[in-house]
Amino acid sequence: MKQVELENRILELLDGQASAAQVLELEEILKADPEARSVYRSLSRLHSALCVRYEAAAEVQAVLPIAPFQSSQNEKPKRVLPWILAAAAAVAIAVLVLSKNSGGANSVPYQLSPGSVCQVTYPDGVKGPEGHFLVDGAYVELLGGNFECSLANGVHLVVEGPAEFTLANQDLVLLNQGNAWFDVPEVAKGFSVRTHEVDVVDLESEFGVLALSDAPDQIHVLRGSVIATTRIGTRSSEVLTAGQARVVNHDGSLKTLPPTPGRFQKALSGKIPYLHFGLDGIGVNGEIQVDGSMPGASSIKARLISEDSASHFIPGPVGQAISFSSGSGAWINTDWPGLSGKAPRSIAFWFKIDPGAQQTDTFPAAIAWGNPDNHFNRKWKIWFPRDPDNGQLRACISFGADRYYDPARLDDGSWHHLTAIYTGKTHEDGTPDCLLYLDGVLSKPEHRFGPDGPPVMRNVDTQTGGPGNGPLRIGYGIYAGLPTFQGSLDEIYIYQGVIDEKTIRSLSSNGHPSDGK
């Protein structure tokens, strides 16, 4: 490849314009040729320098209203001032956070919906205010549930978990991930939200932003107008008005979307979103009813796969229950992909397993979704394997490699209630934080690795929706060829968050949450 062509290819790559095939080709060249890598380094430096040269002043103004290091850098030549400002901005954020936190300036209260899991931290281990208060610089990790806050300038925001964002200051929110709604009063005009892909600047408005980890970011304007400017590729800019929505295209342009204002929560929900499978009967084509408060619950399709559907229903703790062990093997297939990533979750259900059931070498899941590869933590499975040492059947949560076993023997032919919770947190040793409640009582599960040992990557990352990832299945495994579950189930609740003990007690005693839903 000629020098000019090589340089053009590298510049296309740096501009984010290279195709996968072009990247692959360039990679082969760079691997083989140290001279080509030298050219690549030079152009990377140039590209980086140009980015900062034109972005620096704006960055400093947006992120850091005051730049405390400017005066200390007077010895530098004036022409490199933008560099100094950029560097000072990057470094000074930590210092600024320290100083602001200590004074409690702009301390604003926030609220969480029930069952939310939220961590607020500050750089350098600085302790934030006591209670549910935020100050500038707060990094908020909302693993599940909803977050609501009114800033000092009157901006009202509701963020739906899972989400990660930083309150850089009262005029700027850095939204790494999440679904957020903002209502900006006139006095706060200019309030901004920045995602990885787009800057949104308010012009007296109500708007929503979706910063997605697995899809392009979106902006939806509900009232007034905003300026949206992409941060990738062509860096397009557009004024959007009420009723308009845009998605960030891969080349940096803004593409029109149909507005979906109902997609944004404008107030805290009083309940953790959930799905419910009552398992009281089936439709004429084997349909299983699904309800609950999770968005789209009523449109989820679930179907009993069986040659003789009617024979599987038996009296259960609440109305009818489903027995997978009678007749030929049966299981329930759904089109719901499951909760993904490290989203916290709670699964509660009744089960009954007869003595001597499930004697096969391969133990099927009671409830499962995700990716079956046991080298990673990419699945979520509740199952009842037999202990290889003593043959006792026990309840188990499996992420793939990391597994938690309840100590009690459970194949006694009686109905029991199990609640399995993943909090979204991780212990210091890298194991996921899980809770198991048997018959409403917290148990002490034992951690073990699967047959393939510790996971390749310690993080929980339940994979959903893509090729090779199974949707929610009940009474069966993620992939085909496994035997079906040999037990009975009733009243399955799947919560998008961590439920509290009051709810668990109600579910295990009454069969439904305390509010009767």
């Binding site: 790559l13 990247v23 380094r41 990377s44 980086s48 140009l50 034109y54 560097a87 342009s253």
Partner: protein
């Protein structure tokens, strides 16, 4: 992690013991080398919209662990190690995106070349000579660069304002940047004995 100094080797550039002087030195180092750290991250994540975020994460880690730094001369090596870790961490987070990325092997190779960045001051010096080279561009060339790199502006806007086609502007932009690279390299070659 910063290199641990051997007690047998004299290190004249040890970080000051006084906390105030130490903080001042650290701020000077991280400020002085911000450009080369950013460029290093750009080289590992070309075309990514998350450069600023990873740089910020890197700065935060450097800041948090500033007491680990023993000598000024170890700063860049240490900063690159931290930046490399943050880049890999970021890649893990976005691995399910459809974004085109270098392979892990390529990232490792580029990062392993860090001596190429580290042994000279050219990374930071190039920032200064860039201004000289920019001054040699024509007004139209500077405008084109400005529209490409200024947030809120775009080549599409420039094409609409000037009536030029987007494809011809892209070709011009490539040429201008190739010339800028050559200019910077020439200046640096003259500066370094």
């Amino acid at each position: 992690m910063p290199l641990q100094p051997s007690p047998d080797i004299e290190q004249p550039d040890l970080m000051p013991q006084d906390p105030s002087d130490r903080l001042q030195t650290f701020v000077r180092l991280i400020t002085q080398h911000q450009g080369v750290i950013r460029a290093f991250i750009v080289s590992l994540m070309p075309g990514s919209p998350s450069i600023a975020d990873v740089l910020q994460e890197t700065n935060m880690v450097l800041w948090k662990k500033r007491d680990c730094l023993r000598a000024e001369s170890e700063f860049v090596t240490w900063a690159f190690t931290v930046a490399r870790y943050e880049v890999m961490h970021h890649r893990d987070r976005v691995k399910r995106d459809d974004r085109v990325m270098f392979s892990d092997q390529m990232v490792e190779l580029l990062a392993d070349d860090e001596d190429q960045w580290n042994t000279t001051e050219s990374g930071d010096a190039s920032l200064e000579v860039l201004e000289d080279c920019m001054s040699k561009l024509t007004g139209k060339e500077r405008d084109l660069i400005e529209f490409r790199y200024t947030p809120g502006k775009s080549l599409q806007q420039y094409a609409e304002e000037t009536g030029a086609s987007a494809s011809s502007l892209r070709i011009s932009l490539m040429r201008i940047r190739r010339n800028l690279k050559l200019c910077v390299e020439t200046h640096l070659a003259l500066r370094i004995p």
